[in-house]
Amino acid sequence: MSRHAAGPSESPLQNVVGRRTSRELAARLANDIPDGWFVNIGIGKPTIIADVVEPEREIVFHSENGIIGVGHFAEGSAQDDDLINASKEPILIVSGAAFVNHSDSFALIRGGHLDLAVMGAFQVAENGDFANWSIPGEKIPAIGGAMDLAVGAKRTWIMMDLFDRAGVSKLCERCTYPLTARGAVERVYTELAIFEISTIGFVVRELVEGLNLEELQRYVPVEIRLEDSHLI
């Protein structure tokens, strides 16, 4: 079965009506997190989750630089140079927050005490492998806490654009970039669809409005299935 990647000029499916912005996607993801979970939100897009989560929810957000209880982004005079998230953006903390040192923060991560880690990726494979620290040929690698989170947190969800800047699907059969961890990913949240990784590969849990499976499949070079096709 041959599938076609989009051209290098722009990301495919730009005009799908229900395509989510990063903030919409973050809010959608937050809805899937049960109350009471302790959740690392890494760097980049996932950090938006703590800014958009509904105020009545009690999800405790962890930032690997020693913050348990990350709140909204800090604006203006509320900014404090020493209170930043892992993306180095100024933030607020919530009531009930705690500061820990870096070793204790990663002991929490590696020791399996976080219910979930949400992070970005360059590639996610249908076997749950993912890559997010080094692109061959690119200049400088950067691991950060991703490898620790991927092996340590109880679950890893990826929140990312479905296509890279060249318009190539980040979902793939096998990663070609250096791995961050093997078999870690459970779910992938993208602007167009939400996927679960099961023993049979990528299963679509949700397509945004105006998108159907066949259309999406044209741009994704690995088989994606609808949830009810599990047993076929």
């Binding site: 302790f38 209880g69 005490h113 976080l114």
Partner: protein
Amino acid sequence: MIGKQVSSLAEAINGIHSGATVLVGGFGDAGTPVALLEALLEDDIRELTIVANNAGSGNRGLESLLREDRVRKVICSFPRSKGSVWFERRYLANEVELEIVPQGTLTERIRAAGAGIGGFFTSTGVGTELASGRETRIIDGREYLFETPLFGDVALIKAHRADRWGNLAYHASGRNYGPTMAAAAQLTVVQVDEIVPLGSIDPENVVTPGVLIDRVVKVEAGKT
């Protein structure tokens, strides 16, 4: 809403089974969760493996469990303790097993369990009979022993103050094993002197973050 407080000692220890490995905080009486340990006597929980600094201290807590023959094995650093007699009686009668571990190795093995460390090398115990038959390694010219993580099914600890998320602050040397054990068990239960509103423990001064805590029970001062 996250609410880790439970309203009774019975609820606090609910689900602890015979045969469990129980990490017990405290050094002497300081930081010992006496009320939680006494509560175990109310249920028919037996054959426990106890991981603690001492094999009892004073005449309650572990001492009661040993007296009532609830303990199969003690993993500890310093079994002897003034005012406690039952460990010695049971041990000399071969009714309880003892694994003795240097104190720093004991707490570091528990830390390893909670911190996702598969094992580590320490110089403590090198050249002693504790090293006999054990894996050793020379690293940068120094000899080390290999040590493995020590997990609990349950951790019972004591703190001074908790909020409803389980954030903890301790009192003086009552801190001891609490922060380390809290991370190393499937179920972590804390006995506290007081429960305070969320946000009233300064985030700079939280010693054990609530992420490590499953249940908090307030014990009136009189009830230890």
